[in-house]
């Protein structure tokens, strides 16, 4: 029987124009012979799967325990909503200031999406980095996907500005309404 790699090559190229099978497969068409060989080899390969081993076991590097309580998933939903809505993105700043004020962090299950937002929008970094908690910081240190966020200058916190409701232009009613809704939604945090 051919090796798995040879069988895959044959399946990729097709049997059109291939010679008729011989030997134990002589009574089959080239297609039938190939399909049966794949079925056999595939089962043998799966049944005899040999798991590769890592060269050395990775050192355990557990994240430090959290010091802040987690905010609700609903609060994270508001952040996602603001990020998805282009005209409302400036409210991400208010979201961050609010959470920092409440001394809350995002839940672990929401960290990939929040770190994704941080990675995408550099201007909101000062408002979102403080709410990722110990686990978020650990992920940044240990995951290549967040290497950009390790720059020390990103972590130097300036004094947080005030919530910016007054800065929203009065004629931007949509944004004012949205901010009001968000703040009502966050009031339970």
């Amino acid at each position: 029987m051919n090796t798995w790699a040879e069988l895959i090559d044959q399946v990729m190229l097709g049997t059109q124009g291939a010679a008729s099978p011989s030997g134990e497969w002589a009574s089959h068409t080239p297609e039938q012979a190939l399909l049966k060989q794949i079925a056999l080899a595939g089962a043998a390969r799966r049944g005899g799967y040999v798991a590769p081993a890592v060269r050395s076991l990775p050192e355990l590097n557990p994240a430090p325990p959290e010091v802040l309580p987690a905010c609700s998933v609903i609060a994270v939903d508001w952040l996602r909503k603001m990020e998805r809505t282009s005209y409302a993105r400036e409210l991400i700043r208010d979201w961050g200031i609010f959470m920092i004020g409440r001394r809350k962090r995002v839940p672990h299950t929401s960290l990939p999406s929040v770190l994704g937002i941080i990675n995408k929008h550099e201007q909101w970094i000062p408002y979102l980095l403080p709410v990722i908690g110990e686990r978020g910081r650990w992920m940044i240190e240990n995951s290549e996907g967040y290497a950009e966020l390790r720059k020390p200058e990103l972590w130097s916190m300036e004094e947080m500005p005030e919530l910016k409701a007054a800065e929203i232009a009065e004629d931007n009613k949509l944004l004012i309404d949205l901010r009001k809704q968000m703040m009502e939604g966050l009031a339970h945090e």
Partner: protein, 435 residues
């Protein structure tokens, strides 16, 4: 009776939108007249209508009833009340309102009632239906063989193979031939070339080989061992009725741990694979059920809980799928310290090889690691052996939840990839997925 905490409520809700809407209602003081006793909880939820919605929960099995028009089960009003219950914000000791007790009594009567005598089946009509189905499946198997032979004649490098439509067409033909499981498997192949897997051709070829072997087995069904013939028929879509399973299958009583759940959406249908583990027998069981996407599953089995009861395995060379015959206890959370999943990747692979030896058509086996560890693409055991994670495993999410520690992790191994079906953290069981 289940333990009502937030983790338990999360296990009952299949879509995150309903969970969040329920949370909003629970927080906003939308409920009035709430109460609970040993059997039920109830409340009136303020909605968009003139009158508030009447919400009831059967505490024994977490079934819910709401007078709102939503087609989701549980609806957001029921979820909100469940969350209030989980947070001890529902007063106890009151008498349930009529709408709750009437509903509960109806459920009780339904449970206790003996089925009405049904008309004896018309044997001739039944035989005719079965013959027609058999003819359809036989034609479908023939068509599938032709398709697979044409496929390897033209080769997987043909551009048409990389289009969803190519696979969807043959999948639809299989559904027409009443071979729904084959249709699903073919449709799934449509995505394989797009999952950025270097070995997509190997994955497609392997599945093509499996399907061809199945058609071969069908053509020799009469010569196969009886139990293996059941497996072939099941893989093609011949489902045994529950009463036939109860009559033909092997019954096992145990304390069953609910270890993991996979829910897959296939067009208008949801498929739920719920994995149980018998503490005394050491046997796994798969409870497979289906529901329309807007309907609830008939039964609730909260993950990370155990119940005492009896299950009956479908006849099979490698018994795996089962139905729950009776539940003799309530649901009790599995203490984190008493979880006992497999020790190593070798155990998982040996289990799969054993399954394959007796049922070459087995698609996946349950697989758990007590001390699992994940990298970007692999699951690693405590001696450093690796299994590749399935497409969509969300390694960043796993990393965020595991936080560099080893945790019990449960899933399915299909011979080429590990699909996560649940993660046990100190805070509770978590299904895979960003929240």
């Amino acid at each position: 009776m289940p333990t009502w905490n937030e983790t338990f409520v999360q296990t009952l809700v299949t879509d995150s939108g309903t969970m969040r809407d329920g949370e909003k209602l629970a927080r906003s003081g939308a409920y009035s007249g709430t109460g609970c006793d040993a059997r039920s909880a109830w409340g009136l939820a303020k909605g968009s209508g003139k009158s508030p919605y009447q919400v009831s929960i059967d505490l024994n099995d977490a079934a819910t009833k709401c007078s709102c028009p939503s087609r989701k089960f549980p609806c957001k009003h029921a979820v909100g009340l469940m969350l209030l219950l989980a947070r001890d914000n529902v007063p106890t000791g009151a008498t349930p309102p009529t709408w709750t007790s009437t509903w509960l009594d109806g459920r009780e009567r339904k449970r206790e009632s003996t089925p009405a005598p049904t008309k004896a089946p018309d044997a001739a009509a039944q035989a005719k239906r079965e013959a027609a189905r058999l003819a359809k499946v036989t034609d479908g198997v023939g068509e599938l063989r032709l398709f697979l032979e044409d496929l390897v004649r033209q080769g997987l490098s043909h551009p048409a193979v990389k289009s969803y439509g190519f696979w969807d067409r043959i999948a639809a033909r299989m559904v027409d031939s009443q071979m729904q499981p084959i249709g699903r498997r073919l449709r799934a192949l449509g995505g394989a070339p797009f999952q950025k897997k270097a070995n997509w051709a190997g994955l497609v070829a392997d599945e093509v080989g499996r399907l061809y072997a199945l058609t071969e087995a069908y053509q020799r069904l009469d010569t196969l061992p009886e139990l293996l013939a059941y497996d072939v028929r099941a893989a093609l879509g011949f489902n045994l009725k529950q009463e036939d399973v109860l009559a033909l299958g092997t019954s096992v009583a145990d304390r069953w741990q609910v270890l993991g759940v996979q829910i897959e959406q296939v067009e208008q249908l949801q498929e739920r694979r719920m994995w149980l583990y018998g503490e005394q027998t050491g046997q796994y069981a798969l409870i497979l059920d289906f529901a329309h996407r807007s309907r609830p599953f008939d039964a609730v089995y909260p993950p990370a809980h155990w119940f005492s009861g009896e299950i009956v395995y479908y006849p099979s060379a490698y018994p795996q799928r089962a139905v729950v015959k009776s539940i003799d206890s309530g649901y009790t959370p599995i203490p984190y310290s008493s979880l006992n999943l497999s020790g190593t990747v070798e155990d998982i692979l040996n289990g799969y090889a054993d399954a394959l030896a007796v049922n070459p058509f087995v698609q996946y086996v349950p697989a758990g690691l007590q001390d699992g560890w994940v990298t970007r693409s692999d699951l690693i055991d405590n001696v450093g052996k690796q299994l590749p994670l399935a497409h969509g495993a969300q390694p960043q999410w796993l990393n965020a939840v595991m936080g560099g520690s080893r945790l019990p992790i449960f899933g399915e191994w299909d011979g080429s990839a590990f699909l996560v079906a649940g993660l046990f953290t100190a805070e509770g069981w978590l299904p895979l997925g960003d929240a």
